[in-house]
C-alpha cells in the first residue's frame, strides 16, 4: 500500500524520512561493499522484473486475480541487503515517474515495504528455509511481508489521525490478509518454478548465523502486527492519544485556537514528551530493522 502525500501528519512523515535516510544509506553502502558496483545492472534489471511481473495476473477465481508484490521473492533470490536497495529503487520510480506514493511519504513507504516488510518476509526463510518446513516457511514469508507492511501503513495513518472507524479498519485488515495469503501462494509458486529452471537462483539460508536474533526480530514484527490489529479495534483510543499529543489533523481544535496559542502549545514540554514517546517507538522499530539488517546482510565469506 503506497501512502500518498497529504495523509500522514508532519511529525510522522518527517520522523520516518529521518529514520529511512540513514537506513537506505547504510543499505547502499553495504550493497556497494558486498555486491560491488558491477551488480548495479542486476539490481536495476531485477527491479524492472518486479515492475513487469506486477502486470502478470494470477487467476484466483470468481473473475478476480492478484499480482506479485515481490519483497519476499527479491529477498530469497538476491539476499536482504540487495532486496532492500531494489525495493527502494522501485518505490522511488513509482513515486517520481508514476506518482504512485508520495515523495515526502517515501521514507514511510520505504520503511514499510523495502525494510520492515522485506525483513519480515526474509526471517521465516532464514529460520526454516531448509528442511521439511521450507514450503510453509516461504508461504509464511510472503504472507508476513505484505501483512507487516500493510499493518505499519495502517498504523501510521491512524497515528496521523486519518478517520478510520472500526468497520473500515476491519475490512481493510481482512483485505490485507487476503492479499498477504495471495502473496504467499504466488511467491511459493514462482520459487518452485525458479528451482526447476536453475536452483542457483535461490539463496541458501545460512542457518548458523544469529538464530536467536532472528527469532527476536520475528517476535517483534508479530507483536507490532498483532498490536496494531488489536489497537485498530479501538480506533477511538488511538484518536484520543493522537489528539492529546497534538499530532492529529483535528481541524476543529486547530481552527479554534489562535495562532499564538498554538505556537506556545508546541513548545510546552508535555507535548514534547508525548511526541517524543511516539518517535521513540518508531526509533525502536527502526533500530530493530537495522540490527536485523546488519545481521542478515553479512557477506558470505567468499
Amino acid at each position: 500500500m503506497h501512502i500518498p502525500d497529504g495523509f500522514l501528519a508532519t511529525p510522522v512523515w518527517a520522523a520516518l524520512d529521518v529514520a529511512a535516510a540513514p537506513a537506505v544509506g547504510y543499505l547502499a553502502r553495504r550493497a556497494q561493499r558486498g555486491l560491488e558496483p558491477a551488480k548495479v545492472p542486476l539490481l536495476g534489471v531485477m527491479g524492472a522484473f518486479v515492475f513487469a511481473a506486477q502486470m502478470i495476473n494470477f487467476p484466483v477465481g470468481l473473475g478476480t486475480s492478484g499480482h506479485l508484490v515481490g519483497a519476499a521473492l527479491l529477498a530469497y533470490t538476491l539476499g536482504p541487503a540487495a532486496a532492500g536497495v531494489v525495493l527502494t529503487a522501485i518505490l522511488t520510480v513509482q513515486a517520481l515517474v508514476f506518482q504512485d506514493g508520495g515523495v515526502l511519504a517515501l521514507g514511510a513507504n520505504v520503511i514499510n515495504m523495502a525494510i520492515a516488510g522485506m525483513l519480515a518476509g526474509y526471517l521465516p526463510f532464514h529460520l526454516w528455509g531448509t528442511g521439511r518446513w521450507r514450503r510453509p516457511a516461504i508461504f509464511f514469508g510472503g504472507f508476513l511481508s505484505v501483512l507487516a507492511s500493510a499493518t505499519l501503513a495502517l498504523g501510521e495513518l491512524l497515528l496521523s489521525g486519518v478517520v478510520m472507524p472500526a468497520a473500515v479498519l476491519g475490512v481493510s485488515f481482512g483485505l490485507f490478509a487476503v492479499s498477504a495469503a495471495l502473496e504467499g501462494a504466488i511467491t511459493l509458486a514462482i520459487l518452485q518454478a525458479l528451482a526447476s529452471i536453475n536452483p542457483d537462483f535461490i539463496r541458501k539460508p545460512q542457518l548458523n548465523r544469529g538464530r536467536a536474533l532472528a527469532w527476536v526480530g520475528l517476535a517483534a514484527i508479530l507483536l507490532v502486527v498483532v498490536g496494531v490489529a488489536v489497537a485498530s479495534t479501538h480506533p477511538d483510543g488511538i484518536w484520543k492519544l493522537a489528539g492529546e499529543t497534538g499530532i492529529a489533523l483535528h481541524a476543529k481544535a486547530l481552527l479554534a485556537a489562535p495562532l499564538a496559542d498554538y505556537q506556545l502549545g508546541l513548545l510546552q514540554s508535555v507535548w514534547l514528551r508525548k511526541a517524543g514517546a511516539g518517535l521513540a517507538g518508531l526509533a525502536l522499530i527502526y533500530g530493530a530493522c537495522m540490527v536485523g539488517g546488519r545481521l542478515l546482510a553479512r557477506p558470505r565469506g567468499t
Partner: protein, 230 residues
Amino acid sequence: MIHRRDARAKTIAVLVFLIALATARRNFLAVGLWYFAILVAVTIAARLPILAALARVAVVVLPFTLVFAAISLAAGEPLAAITLVGKSYLSALAVLVLLSTTPLPELLHGLEHLGVPRYLLMVVQFLYRYLFVISGEAQHMRAAARAKSGSLKRVFFDRSKFGAAAGAMGVLFARSYAHAEGIHQAMLARGFQDRFRTLSRHAFRGGDAAFLMTAVLLLAGARVAIEAWI
C-alpha cells in the same frame, strides 16, 4: 524556459512546495487554491498539456484518496476530507510537472549533487532503462498465454493456470537475469572496472538561483501571508 532550469533548482522548488503544502493547516482552502493556480501557471508556461496532466493525476491519486475522503465526510469531518483530497492531488501534480520538465536521468544527477547515495541512483537509472524492455517481454508472454488458453478468467480457482502464470514469471526472471549478465559483459568489454563515471556537467546559473528564489517567495511567502491576513 522551465525545461532548461537546473534540475537541482527545480527539485528544491518542488520540495518546498510539498513541505509547504503538507504542513498547511489554517485556511487550507485558500492556500490550496493559490498553490493550484501556481501549478496550472507553471504547467502552461512549460507548454505541457494541462488537461491531460490534471486527468492523469486524478486517475492515479483519486481512487485511493476518495475512499478515505468519503469516510471522513461520513464521520462528520468535511475539512479533513477536503484536505486529504487537496493535498494528495496537488502533491502528485507537482511531482508530475517536475518529471515532465526534467528527464529522469538529469533529475537523478541533480539528486546525487543533493546528497542521495549514488549506488541507489544508479540502480534507479538502470531500472528505468530496462523497465520497458522487460515489460515488453512480459507483454509478449501474456499475449502468448492468452493465445494458448482462450480466456484468462475462470469461475473457480484454476490450479494449472496459476501454475502456468508462475512458470511464466520464472521464465521472465531467467530472461531478466540473462539480460543482466549480458549488460555486465558489455560493461566489462568497454573497460568498466570499479565505478561509474558520468558525463554530467551541471552549472547552477543565475537564472536557476532566480527561479528558486521566486518559487520560495511564491510558495512559502504566500502561505504565511494568507494565514496571517485571512
